[in-house]
Subunit: 211 residues, 4 copies
DNA sequence: CTATAATCGAGACGGTACGTCTTGTCTTAGG
DNA sequence: CCTAAGACAAGACGTACCGTCTCGATTATAG
C-alpha cells in the first residue's frame, strides 16, 4: 500500500500488525470524527502505536486516509448477473453501498478535494481506488461482448474515450446522488439510471454522428 | 447570504463592505492555498478585517467557503441556444468553466465532504449552490416543452424524479470528469455526453417500462 | 475624584448616578473576581452603563480601581481613645479592618504593583489613599503633644522624616501581616506592635545618635 | 521549582536549559514591560521556546513570575557584621536592593495581589520567597544569642510569635518605603529603622507587660 | 422654541493575547 | 533498525477584552 521501495535488511523489521491496526483505527476515526477532525495523534493512540511509527509509513493525513478508504474497495466484484443491464445495476449498487458507509463518505470526498492541489495524491487515488473500479467497467464490456450484447470495438482510441465517459457518468451520478443530493441509491434508481445510460449508448452507437 | 434573521436596531450597524472584502479574500486564499491550508486568521488579514468580525458573521470555515464559492455561481445563466441539446451543452460547459477555477475546485469538494457530517452545511450548499443550478435544468425543460422538443409532463411526481435523476447525471458527470479523472470538459466531451443523455431519455420515455 | 478639569457648560451633563453605580459595581466585581479577572466591560454591565460612559470618565482599569478602593478609606477616623498607644492601636485596627475586605486586598496591592511603572498612578494612590492615612498619623502626634505624651518637634525636617518612617512602619507591618503572612491583625497583635513601636521611638528620641 | 512530583521514565526528557531560559526571559520581560503587560507568548519567544513548553511547566503567569522573582532571592545572605544592629541593617539593605530591581518591584507586588485570591499561589510565595528571608531573621537571632546580645528564648511559642512580628515589621517597612512611598532605602534610613526596632524590642522584653 | 452640543444605550470595529490543539521532528530507553 | 513514550518548535484555533467608533435617542443650555 504505502511505498516500500527499498528493503532494509538489517535492524528490527517493521511490525506488520501495526499497518492493519493503523488503517483500522483510521477508518474508526473517520466514522466517529470525519475527515476534518481526524488527527494523526488520535489515530496512533487508537491503534496503540507511537506517532513515529505512523509517520515512518505514511507521509501525512491524506495518504493515510486514501489507503484506509481504498481497502473498502477490495470487496468490489463483478458477479455475472446474466445481462449487461443487470451487471451495471449490480456495480452501481455495490459502489453506492460503499459510499453509504460513513468512513468512505467523509474520507473519499475530502481526499478528492485535496487532490485538486496535489498531483501525487490524485495519482494515488487513481491507482488505489479509481482504477479498481474502472477495471469492472472493462470487464463488464468484455462480458457483454462475449454475450453478443455489444459489438467488438473497432477503434481502440474511440473505445477508450467511451469507457472514460461511461465511467465518469456512472461514478459521477452515484456520488452526486449520494453525497450532494443526499438521496439513497436504491434498486429503482439504479434501474432508471441504467436504462437511460444503455439506451443512450445504444442510440449513440447506432447513428453515430448524423442523428 | 449569512444569517441575518433578527434586526438589532441599536448599536453600530455591521459594515457592508466587510462582507464583500471577506468573501473576496476567501476566494483569493482558496486559489493560493486551497481549502485545507486556508486559515480564517489569514482571510481576516487579507480582508483587512479583525478575526472577530469574521466570526461574528460566519460560524466557521465551512460556511464561509460555501458562501464564497456560491457567489461564483451567480453568473450561471441559460442562454437560448436554439435546441435542447445546445442548451444542455451550454450548461455543461458553463458549469465546467466554474469548476475549472481553482477557488471552486478546492472549496466545493471539501465543503461537500464536510457536509457528509453536517446537515446544516448540506442544506446551505443545497440552497446557495445546488438549487441555483437545478433551476437551470427546470428552465431548460420548460423551454424545450415550449419548442415542442419535449412533451408536457403528465405525472408531476414522476417528472420531479426525472429532473433529479438528470441533475445527478449532469452535475455528477461533470464533477467526476473534472476533479477525479482530471480531464478537461471541452466542447467534444460535452457533445458526446449530451448525445447519450438525450438519446437515453428519449428511448426511456418512448418505451417506458417494457423495453 | 476623576479628572474634571474643564467644565463644558453646554450639552447634556454627565449623570451623577453613573459615577456611584460604576464605583459600586467595581467593588462588587473586585470581590467576586479579583483585580486580574475584573474587566471594564463587565463593570459597565453590572453598573447598567455603556462602556463609553465608563471610558469617558476613567482612563483605564487602574484609575477606576484606585478610585473605587479609595472610597473605602473615607470611613477612616481618629477617635480619641485617651492615650497615644490606644490611638495607634485604634488606627492599626481600623486600617486592618479595611484591608480585610476582599475588594481592598486584591485591588490595593495590584494598584501598587502597577504604580511601580506608572508615576501618575502612584500619585493618584498617594493623593486619594496614602495621604488620607498619613493625616491620621499627623493628627495623632498633635493630640499626643497636646496631652504631653510627646514633646513639640524642634527640627521640622527631622520631624517630617520621622513621620514618614513611622508611617512606613505602621502601614507596612499591617499590610505585610495581612497580605503576605496572611495572619489576622487582632487586638493582641496591635498591642504588641504598638508597644515595640512606642518604646523604640521613646528610646530613640532619648539618646538620639550616640547610644 | 515547579512541580516535578512524578518521574515519567519514558519519552524525551524535559530540557533543563529551557527552564533557565524561560525564567531569564521572564525577568527580562518584567523589566521591559512590567507584570500587567507581560505575556506568556512574548516570554516564550524571548526564551526561544514554544508556548506549549512553557505551559507544560507552569500553570500560568502568576506561578511563572513567582519562580522568576524567587531566583533573585537566592543571593540573600547574612554576613556576620559584628553586631545585631549591623546584621539587621545589612539584611534591610540587601532586601531593599532586591526590591529596587524593576523585575522584582513589579512582579512581587502583583504576585502578592493575586495571592489574595489563590491560596496555592500564596503558599508558593511563602515557600520560595518569604521563608527564605525568614530564615535570615532566625539566623540573626541565633548569632545574637551566641554573641550574648540576646537572651536564649524561654517560651518557644512566644519566641515564634516575636519572630513573625519582627519579620512583618522589617519586610513590611522596607516594602512600603520602597513601593508605596517610593523613597530609597539608604543607609541612613536603615540605621534609623533598626535603632527604633531594637530599642523597642529591648524595652518590650525588659518590662514585658506592665509598662 | 428651536438649534446646538455633549451625553446616553448599544453594539460593531481592528487588535492583541489567551490557553489549547495539532503537526511533524527529535530524543530518550528498550527490543 | 524499529518501537513506545513523550518533549519539542511552530503555528492555527475560537474566545475574551481592549479601547475606539458609529449609531439613534436623550437632555441640557443658548439663542
Amino acid at each position: 500500500m504505502q511505498c516500500r521501495t527499498s528493503a532494509p535488511r538489517t535492524g528490527r523489521p517493521r511490525s506488520a500488525a501495526a499497518d492493519a491496526a493503523i488503517l483500522a483505527a483510521t477508518r474508526e476515526a473517520l466514522v466517529e470524527l470525519g475527515w476534518s477532525k481526524l488527527t494523526l495523534g488520535d489515530v496512533a493512540t487508537r491503534a496503540g502505536v507511537a506517532k513515529t511509527t505512523l509517520y515512518r509509513r505514511w507521509a501525512g493525513k491524506n495518504e493515510l486516509v486514501v489507503d484506509a478508504v481504498a481497502e473498502l474497495f477490495d470487496e468490489l466484484e463483478l458477479p455475472d448477473l446474466g445481462s449487461l443491464a443487470a451487471d451495471i445495476e449490480g456495480v452501481v449498487l455495490q459502489f453506492a453501498a460503499i459510499l453509504a458507509r460513513p468512513e468512505a463518505r467523509s474520507g473519499l470526498m475530502a481526499a478528492v478535494a485535496e487532490s485538486t492541489r496535489d498531483d501525487a495524491l490524485r495519482e494515488r487515488i487513481r491507482a488505489s481506488i479509481v482504477d479498481r473500479q474502472k477495471r469492472l467497467v472493462l470487464a463488464g464490456r468484455s462480458r457483454a461482448q462475449a454475450r453478443g450484447e455489444l459489438p467488438p470495438e473497432e477503434d481502440a482510441q474511440e473505445a477508450a474515450r467511451t469507457v472514460d465517459l461511461i465511467f465518469d457518468m456512472v461514478a459521477g451520478a452515484v456520488v452526486h446522488r449520494t453525497l450532494v443530493s443526499a438521496e439513497p441509491v436504491d434498486a429503482a434508481w439504479a434501474q432508471s439510471f441504467t436504462r437511460i445510460l444503455l439506451l443512450g449508448l445504444a442510440g449513440a452507437s447506432a447513428g453515430p454522428h448524423g442523428a
